[in-house]
Amino acid sequence: MLEFRKDLFADERDDNLNVIGKGEQRQDMLGHVTGRTRFFDDHGFDGLLHLKVVRSPHHHARIRSIDVTAAERAPGVKRVIRGQDVPLNKNTLLSLIDFGKDDEPTLAVDKVRYKGEPIVAIIADSEAEALAAVKLVRVSYDPLPTVFDVQEALKPGAVVVNETYPGNYFEYHDKYDHQKLRFGDVEAAFRTADHVLEERYQMSPIEHASTETNGTIAAPETNNRYVVHSCAQGLFFSLGTTAKILALESNRLHFIGGTVGGGFGGKVDSLTEPLAVLGAILTGRPVRYVLGREEEMQFASPRGAERHVIKDGVMRDGRIVARQITSYFDAGAYTRLTSYGVVKCVAHMPGPYTIPNVRGDAYCVFTNRVPATAMRGFGVTGVDFSIEVQMDKLAHLVGIDPMEFRILNAYRDGDMKAHRRVAHNTALIECVQVVAEKVNWPLSETARRASSLSGGGGARAAIPPTVTDESGRIGRPETRQAPPQLTPGAAPLPAYQPPPAVTVYQPPPAHQPAAPLPNYPSQPAAAAPLPAPAPPVPNAPATPQHGAARFSSVFTRRR
């Protein structure tokens, strides 16, 4: 059931349009409902070969040896691909926008960092023959200690998951082990607040569960090019990733896609394109690489888990005066897109509310699990769950109706947001009012009369004097903030003890925390408040690597 409230914001809209606003049927609907629409896997080729991968049974292990001799001789096997066959066997997805360091192999070589990591690819005449040959590959492992908890992974001396990031955190701006948000002075505000509430929230991993699993069919064309039927959510993103990993000029790849059986973020990673094209190059034949449902569910990247610790200061009258959010994003073993989701999360803090003092610290943490990726609501769904349950608790704490509490604190046109941009085009209040009316939720006269269009700006547009700090300097783990103290009564998270490794392994010498920087002055606990809002500090623009506008001016340059 769907209806419109055309009376709201009517003066901001031209409703006199021909096609816009009409529920016209999709141009491709008939094809979808009659099963005639062609998805990537509906493209047949003569002599099609099938690719399957050997996956790690261990969460973390050194690879001692790989023996493919039996697999190579197995019936139907046309080619076995190993890490050394991949032209550039180390990549990170966001290198295309110059964000982050290459940290993930297409096929693992010396070490596996999560259970299910691909090590060897087998190409055979049929899927059954490829799967049979997969079982003949002998990989010898030395299992390594594992780390699965984000806060454990951040402790000095923790097991190193991904040697590209030896502290188990993504490095922001070459400077910090997390992304900061600083607006005002939360500590001072906590001291004057009538109530302070600190709670911890845990968002679970989620499987995208698209109807169509990840897959690619790649075939040589006669003009020294390769046609690639792809399920990618970003066609050129996948083309660029494939070209980089295979060291090909981009115009040797002809990607076709655009009609995809669901994605929800699970088809941004180019999980199958590079190997399928490499298989076509090495065999000269069309190659199909499609994940089975079990592979998709167990080993394709899910939405990552997130932990958010929220500490709020609230006054008896319901005004929230300070909000501090510490967020841990579980990236799994490799970065993929989690580093981006963290910045998006920070941009979203403190939710759609105007709060004069906000502090955020968000970490992208590496653990020995399947690498996480984007999913619907990336960077926001988890923190929104946390914020909105926290809002409910705060309303309860101060004895104010939860809808009234939202309207009281809602952002309005003209308000300054914590990332220092003025809000405009806001409509949170109206959404709450409309639903309240719909469900007969009683609102006070004040709440009913509130509007996103008025009451904002003025003092609410000010950027407060802001306390900054150097916590979390890379290489100085002692400056990282201790995990926030939980309010008594908050439910503890279930403790998890990883099972002992089967094989006794002598670990390398314990991880040594990096030595403190020489002549580095000791940091005061908090810098003195700035006398006035600091003007924006634009970063020096870096030289673009490929001519196009890149993220290099924003973040760490790719090394």
Binding site: L2, T426, V554
Partner: protein, 341 residues
Amino acid sequence: MARHQGRGMASINYPIGMNLGGDPSQALVHANPDGKFTVALSAIDLGQGMKQVSRQIAAETLGVPIEDVYVDTADSDTGPHDMGSFASRGTHRVGNAVIVAAKEARGVLLEAAAEELEVNADDLVTDGKGNIHVRGAASKSITVKAASQAAQFKQGKTISGRGIFLIPLSTVNPETGEMSPVTAYAHACLVVDLEVCDETGDVKVNKLTSAYELGRALNPKMVEQQLVGGAWMGMSHALYETPEPYYPNPEHGGRDYNEYLMPGPGDIAPHDITVLERPAPDGPFGAKGPGEMCANPVLPAVANAIFNAIGVRIDTLPITPEKILRALKAQGGARPQARRA
């Protein structure tokens, strides 16, 4: 044993487009000699309706009937560059690129018509039904088809247009997090009515009531599909889904749809949706994008409704019957909170 009724709410906003910008989309529009248009993109239709939204935007901008426009996507040889379908960027970014391309093509179309009609192109309007006429003089007209034929066979003009839309890249301050994340936000509020069984821990969602502010619902039917499906996904995230039920323990992941739990047809709740439209100043016809955000308010609203029903807070997702029963046991039974309306 008792089933306790609960009602909870949540309100949210959602950023439209890739965080920090720097994510261009392009579009090409061209007409065949009969004035039928093709929009070439490399955007991805994941089922969300990218093709149809682009088609409606192109038809509206060109001023032609929707049947006269088809969208061709995605082929890297013919479709110009696009970052992809993620981050709620499709409608906003691609839609704007389509408008730019369609405006250019419309400009040539009107010039061709003006030459045939021997009038000034600035005086011409389209009726959206395949005709071009002088403003205020419907009889002085030419069909889109005739104008296109004249353009291509007589005047030597290409009725085509190129479009790109790019929000310039924002920097991020390492010390303060100052940045320009996005230019538009969608909004929502949602109420969940549910009941919790204190013997089994089972949660039954009875009704969803929501308001979504989306800038402009370009196609209300597709908006409804997104919102209904997204709310289902939110309900599933809140109560059912995870590949790691005892996170951070990585074991016990489902291998198929028998083991990986999701709400079935019998678990789907009626959803009463109201759409608000506050146009985004830089959105295509004001549109923002409902695709991602629609799941988000459901998760906290369900958790808040469970608290309202039985007085326990479950802060770890998903909220399984096991977690509810353990929390009830720790609390010594259900403590229903004040009923709301």
